[in-house]
Symmetry: C2
Subunit: 410 residues, 2 copies
């Protein structure tokens, strides 16, 4: 499933490994602390056992940032994170100072269980906003996490961090770098409150390659910008987005900055994160169909603005769900994105031109209806001029999206 | 129904008149041209019979502007419009030069039927985007419009311009100005593709007051900014928005700029347009519940940005539909609107404080559930600081919104 989308092209150096396997130097596990329903795994722990660990992190930017994100940003050494503790079922966002206290309780509980300093433990939360996290209860349950930690613990860790997700979103792979084979794995969650810049999600990435923290930071930043930054389920920026990359160095294979190893590693990492990001979209709350909108034109501000307007338009998304070839809504969304002058807009759906220079073309209706009935639909827009290209991947707007978000407090 | 919302307070000078009655000096009527389903009225005509007519207009601003809007902006004398021809069922947008030709055919057809110059006839269209308008057929049907024109023709005119609207949106009133009584009427359409700045809608306003074109322009601009600019059904800017004010002067009551008459007229006009704008929201595609979000804080850019983010959030809208008191989504939307620093955010729902200084409060759940079960729900947000206040009125996101927009090409 990981590479099922035609929009992901993994490099030939990549071969998939058993999905629950972690790169050498890592263990993971999970416990149940009663944050989600009784008995379900809801607290995951990931640990790097290697003394040479390096790490890098990215977070969302919002005026309402969750306590665990603030804690990571202010009290962790983000280039030397040795462990992660992440809970689902409660975002610990809009919880004020008390929320910070709860996040610290969780961090300290994990540090005690693993024999680490609190600043070496990153914390992450996902779930409902505006409810206090039971930090003490989570810290208590963490005293039982050590026996669950396992080099094949990726699956239970990933399961503990999921909320409304239906699809599993973790993968493990071997990458043949010029200097030798390394392992790369990631565990991800995300289904709603997903927007470019970036998705509402948690994503933890591990590798046993040896690399410096500055390089890890550059590699993670670029890969996130080319994956999670490009997806939207509902255009809703979250309060908790966290992406962390940890390197154990345990393979002994070193990635030198600027080397062919870096190029090969970057390609594998980007394919992995894009595949996971597209899985997030496919798993978008209530989604039946997903789409890619690709906008080309004179400058990247304009192409990005148009791509996001199209991806976030409830009219476009409802038409995508219904298999309705009503491209007039794509034109409307593009026009709303760039007011002020008439756009010389070209639109094609799956290569079928429907609009040229702002005006409707005669189109074979049957071909168009077949095109929009696919599981993955491609919209191409050209704004005139050349140079920039922006893509956004997005899901449809369905009855189930409304159901999930109207009938449950998620 | 017009003044049913608690958010509209008509001044005491206003008394409602029979809704199909037009102010003196005006007639209206409608024909069927087969643009909508066979036999339904789909082309409305409004005419001012007074030689002293003045007018003012406002249009949406988009990179994809419908041909009738372009025609009005480039070929009409917008301060001296004597008649309007408006069709439903087809937006004549994204139709290129051929669309302009069709719009001119309609304009000329109406001008011929009414004995006017084409430049004295404003044209407007609403309906599906990206389909050529049958201009010749409409022009042909307009040869039969003259016998339908009637001083009580507002209802059939209004019926001809509606599309997915379920509620009637026309009203007529008498306004007791200090200098004497005048009449004021408006016919409006709009239900989907509705966004602040401004609603996807057509609105035609008539008065028999005597006023100069410059004053009409100022009055219309202010009233639109305080009504149609403040509503959102789905955050989707249209390609066709048109608001026109026509004054016949037939009452003989003159509104001098800066006079108490102007103040009283402005208050009545604003109440009328706000009432119609809220009817548009109430009639939002699939809507069960509507809400007002009022955001106060340091500057109007920030308050407006937050109000729109909340009003357009599918998560907030689905919770509104479900009667779910999940205010964390309001916090999330506010945070997404203003990234970069933690917001000292206060949130209240129907006066119940749920969040203070960015942190959740203990709230009586039963009271909160009663508050969000109302037909009209008020969210109040304070960003800290004082001065600015922005309001947006919006509808919920329902199964029927998805149904209307997924299963039909609208």
């Amino acid at each position: 499933l990981l590479f099922a989308s035609r929009w992901v092209n993994p490099p030939p150096s990549v071969s998939l490994a058993e999905a629950s396997a972690l790169p050498s130097g890592f263990v993971a596990g999970a416990v149940s602390a009663g944050v989600k329903q009784e008995g379900r795994l809801d607290v995951g722990v990931l640990q790097c056992l290697s003394p040479e660990v390096v790490s890098a992190a990215r977070f969302c930017d919002s005026g309402v940032i969750a306590a665990p994100v603030v804690l990571c940003q202010t009290e962790c050494d983000l280039s030397r994170v040795r462990a992660v503790v992440a809970n689902s079922g409660n975002a610990n966002a809009a919880t004020g100072e008390r929320g910070m206290v709860q996040a610290r309780l969780v961090q300290t509980g994990a540090a005690n269980a693993l024999g680490l300093e609190p600043r070496e433990v990153a914390v992450a939360s996902t779930g409902v906003i505006g409810v206090q996290l039971p930090g003490e209860r989570i810290a208590g349950s963490l005293s039982g996490v050590a026996p669950t930690l396992d080099p094949h613990g990726a699956a239970s860790f990933a399961s503990a961090i999921r909320t409304t997700d239906r699809l599993e979103k973790h993968a493990s792979m071997t990458v043949a770098l010029p200097s030798g084979d390394i392992s790369l794995a990631a565990q991800c969650k995300g289904a709603g409150m997903i927007s470019p810049r970036f998705a509402t999600m948690l994503c933890f990435v591990e590798t046993d390659a040896r690399l410096e923290a500055a390089l890890a930071d550059r590699l993670l930043g670029t890969a996130v910008a080319r994956s999670f930054d490009l997806v939207s389920v509902d255009g809703q920026l979250s309060t908790n987005d966290t992406a962390l990359l940890l390197g154990s160095g345990a393979s002994g294979v070193e990635i030198a900055p600027g080397s062919d190893d870096e190029t090969a590693f970057a390609a594998a990492l980007e394919a992995l994160l894009l595949a996971l990001a597209i899985l997030v979209v496919k798993d978008g709350e209530g989604a039946r169909r997903i789409a890619q909108v690709a906008v080309s034109g004179a400058n990247v501000d304009e192409t990005e603005r148009v791509a996001r307007h199209v991806a976030n338009s409830p009219l476009v998304k409802a038409a995508l769900f219904g298999g309705d070839p009503n491209w007039g809504r794509i034109a409307q969304a593009a026009g709303a994105a760039l007011p002020g002058r008439p756009l010389a807009l070209d639109i094609a759906i799956e290569g079928l031109a429907v609009c040229a220079d702002g005006a409707a073309l005669d189109v074979d209706r049957a071909s168009l209806e077949r095109a929009v009935a696919r599981d993955e639909v491609e919209y191409s827009l050209a704004l005139g001029g050349e140079g920039a290209l922006s893509r956004v991947y997005f899901s449809d707007l369905s009855y189930d999206y409304v159901k999930i978000n109207a009938e449950y407090t998620t």
